[in-house]
Protein backbone atom coordinates (compact mmCIF):
# COMPACT_ATOMS: atom_id res chain seq x y z
CA UNK A 1 0.00 0.00 0.00
CA UNK A 2 1.53 3.32 -1.09
CA UNK A 3 2.23 5.87 1.63
CA UNK A 4 0.29 9.10 1.32
CA UNK A 5 2.07 12.07 -0.17
CA UNK A 6 1.00 15.65 0.16
CA UNK A 7 0.64 17.75 -3.02
CA UNK A 8 3.13 20.40 -1.88
CA UNK A 9 5.60 17.64 -1.11
CA UNK A 10 5.26 16.47 -4.68
CA UNK A 11 6.01 19.99 -5.94
CA UNK A 12 8.97 20.17 -3.56
CA UNK A 13 10.41 17.04 -5.17
CA UNK A 14 10.44 18.91 -8.48
CA UNK A 15 12.82 21.60 -7.26
CA UNK A 16 15.86 21.54 -9.50
CA UNK A 17 14.04 19.64 -12.26
CA UNK A 18 12.67 20.92 -15.55
CA UNK A 19 8.92 21.28 -15.24
CA UNK A 20 5.96 22.13 -17.40
CA UNK A 21 3.35 24.48 -15.97
CA UNK A 22 -0.14 24.75 -17.45
CA UNK A 23 -2.24 27.79 -16.64
CA UNK A 24 -6.01 28.01 -16.45
CA UNK A 25 -5.99 29.85 -19.79
CA UNK A 26 -4.28 29.01 -23.10
CA UNK A 27 -0.78 29.54 -21.77
CA UNK A 28 2.07 27.27 -20.68
CA UNK A 29 5.53 27.67 -19.23
CA UNK A 30 8.54 25.38 -19.16
CA UNK A 31 11.59 25.93 -17.02
CA UNK A 32 13.64 24.72 -14.09
CA UNK A 33 11.90 25.02 -10.75
CA UNK A 34 13.99 27.06 -8.31
CA UNK A 35 11.39 27.32 -5.53
CA UNK A 36 7.81 27.97 -4.58
CA UNK A 37 5.70 29.08 -1.63
CA UNK A 38 2.46 28.11 0.11
CA UNK A 39 0.40 29.74 -2.63
CA UNK A 40 2.40 27.82 -5.28
CA UNK A 41 3.78 31.04 -6.71
CA UNK A 42 6.81 29.59 -8.53
CA UNK A 43 10.30 30.83 -9.27
CA UNK A 44 11.54 29.39 -12.56
CA UNK A 45 14.69 29.90 -14.57
CA UNK A 46 15.50 29.35 -18.26
CA UNK A 47 11.85 29.86 -18.93
CA UNK A 48 9.92 29.47 -22.16
CA UNK A 49 6.43 30.88 -22.37
CA UNK A 50 3.96 29.36 -24.83
CA UNK A 51 0.82 31.32 -25.65
CA UNK A 52 -1.92 30.24 -28.05
CA UNK A 53 -2.91 33.10 -30.36
CA UNK A 54 -5.01 33.28 -33.54
CA UNK A 55 -1.71 33.22 -35.50
CA UNK A 56 -0.49 30.07 -33.78
CA UNK A 57 1.65 29.32 -30.75
CA UNK A 58 4.01 32.12 -29.74
CA UNK A 59 7.13 31.19 -27.82
CA UNK A 60 9.00 33.66 -25.62
CA UNK A 61 12.25 33.18 -23.71
CA UNK A 62 12.41 34.66 -20.23
CA UNK A 63 15.11 34.90 -17.58
CA UNK A 64 14.50 34.15 -13.96
CA UNK A 65 10.77 34.53 -13.42
CA UNK A 66 8.27 34.63 -10.58
CA UNK A 67 5.06 33.07 -11.83
CA UNK A 68 1.86 34.07 -10.04
CA UNK A 69 0.24 30.97 -8.56
CA UNK A 70 -3.26 32.39 -9.06
CA UNK A 71 -3.54 31.11 -12.61
CA UNK A 72 -1.60 27.85 -12.33
CA UNK A 73 -3.69 24.75 -13.07
CA UNK A 74 -1.20 21.92 -13.39
CA UNK A 75 2.49 21.15 -13.00
CA UNK A 76 4.33 18.28 -14.73
CA UNK A 77 7.83 17.08 -13.96
CA UNK A 78 9.51 16.91 -17.36
CA UNK A 79 12.43 14.76 -16.22
CA UNK A 80 10.08 11.86 -15.48
CA UNK A 81 9.38 11.35 -19.17
CA UNK A 82 12.77 9.69 -19.55
CA UNK A 83 11.80 6.89 -17.12
CA UNK A 84 9.24 5.29 -19.50
Amino acid sequence: MASTILPLELVDRCIGSPIWVLMKNEREFTGTLMGFDDYVNMVLKDVKEFAVTPEGITETDLGETLLNGNNIAMVRNESMLAVV
Partner: protein
Protein backbone atom coordinates in the same frame (compact mmCIF):
# COMPACT_ATOMS: atom_id res chain seq x y z
CA UNK B 1 -5.93 29.26 -1.04
CA UNK B 2 -6.70 32.98 -0.89
CA UNK B 3 -5.08 35.58 -3.08
CA UNK B 4 -6.21 38.29 -0.65
CA UNK B 5 -3.37 37.87 1.83
CA UNK B 6 0.34 38.47 1.21
CA UNK B 7 2.94 35.70 1.31
CA UNK B 8 3.97 34.90 4.91
CA UNK B 9 7.48 35.92 6.00
CA UNK B 10 9.59 32.88 6.83
CA UNK B 11 12.57 32.91 9.17
CA UNK B 12 14.67 30.53 7.06
CA UNK B 13 13.32 30.83 3.52
CA UNK B 14 14.68 28.35 0.97
CA UNK B 15 17.18 29.89 -1.46
CA UNK B 16 15.07 29.70 -4.62
CA UNK B 17 11.79 30.78 -3.07
CA UNK B 18 9.58 33.68 -4.16
CA UNK B 19 10.52 35.87 -1.17
CA UNK B 20 14.22 35.43 -1.97
CA UNK B 21 13.56 36.22 -5.62
CA UNK B 22 11.72 39.38 -4.68
CA UNK B 23 14.60 40.57 -2.45
CA UNK B 24 17.10 40.04 -5.26
CA UNK B 25 15.11 41.63 -8.02
CA UNK B 26 14.48 45.09 -6.60
CA UNK B 27 16.44 47.68 -8.56
CA UNK B 28 16.75 45.46 -11.64
CA UNK B 29 15.09 45.84 -15.01
CA UNK B 30 12.10 43.53 -15.18
CA UNK B 31 9.27 42.55 -17.47
CA UNK B 32 5.92 42.36 -15.75
CA UNK B 33 3.19 40.66 -17.75
CA UNK B 34 -0.38 41.15 -16.69
CA UNK B 35 -3.33 38.83 -17.32
CA UNK B 36 -4.32 40.46 -20.60
CA UNK B 37 -0.88 39.71 -22.05
CA UNK B 38 0.34 43.33 -21.98
CA UNK B 39 3.95 43.74 -20.84
CA UNK B 40 5.59 46.45 -18.79
CA UNK B 41 9.38 46.76 -18.98
CA UNK B 42 10.93 48.94 -16.33
CA UNK B 43 13.21 49.39 -13.36
CA UNK B 44 11.66 47.68 -10.35
CA UNK B 45 11.45 50.27 -7.60
CA UNK B 46 9.54 48.18 -5.10
CA UNK B 47 6.91 45.52 -4.65
CA UNK B 48 4.99 43.81 -1.88
CA UNK B 49 3.55 40.45 -0.94
CA UNK B 50 0.46 41.10 -3.01
CA UNK B 51 2.69 41.41 -6.10
CA UNK B 52 1.78 45.09 -6.34
CA UNK B 53 4.66 46.56 -8.35
CA UNK B 54 6.15 50.03 -8.76
CA UNK B 55 8.29 50.61 -11.85
CA UNK B 56 10.34 53.52 -13.19
CA UNK B 57 11.25 54.29 -16.82
CA UNK B 58 8.48 51.99 -17.97
CA UNK B 59 7.61 50.85 -21.48
CA UNK B 60 4.25 49.31 -22.21
CA UNK B 61 4.33 46.61 -24.88
CA UNK B 62 1.15 45.18 -26.39
CA UNK B 63 1.06 42.72 -29.33
CA UNK B 64 4.82 43.05 -29.70
CA UNK B 65 4.67 46.83 -30.13
CA UNK B 66 5.54 49.61 -27.72
CA UNK B 67 2.31 51.41 -26.93
CA UNK B 68 3.27 53.80 -24.14
CA UNK B 69 6.03 55.10 -21.92
CA UNK B 70 5.59 56.04 -18.28
CA UNK B 71 7.95 57.75 -15.86
CA UNK B 72 6.40 55.94 -12.93
CA UNK B 73 4.09 52.99 -13.10
CA UNK B 74 2.07 51.20 -10.43
CA UNK B 75 0.61 47.79 -11.18
CA UNK B 76 -1.97 46.23 -8.89
CA UNK B 77 -0.81 42.77 -7.91
CA UNK B 78 -4.01 40.88 -8.67
CA UNK B 79 -3.41 41.52 -12.38
CA UNK B 80 0.18 40.28 -12.45
CA UNK B 81 0.80 37.05 -14.37
CA UNK B 82 4.56 37.03 -13.90
CA UNK B 83 7.58 39.13 -13.02
CA UNK B 84 10.60 38.24 -15.11
CA UNK B 85 14.17 39.52 -14.82
CA UNK B 86 15.52 41.22 -17.93
CA UNK B 87 19.05 41.17 -16.57
CA UNK B 88 21.20 38.70 -14.62
CA UNK B 89 20.38 38.50 -10.94
Amino acid sequence: MSSASPQPEEAAAPAGSPSEFLKNIVGKRVKVRIGSGVDYHGLLTCLDGYMNVALEETEEWANGRKTAEYGDCFLRGNNVLYISALEEL
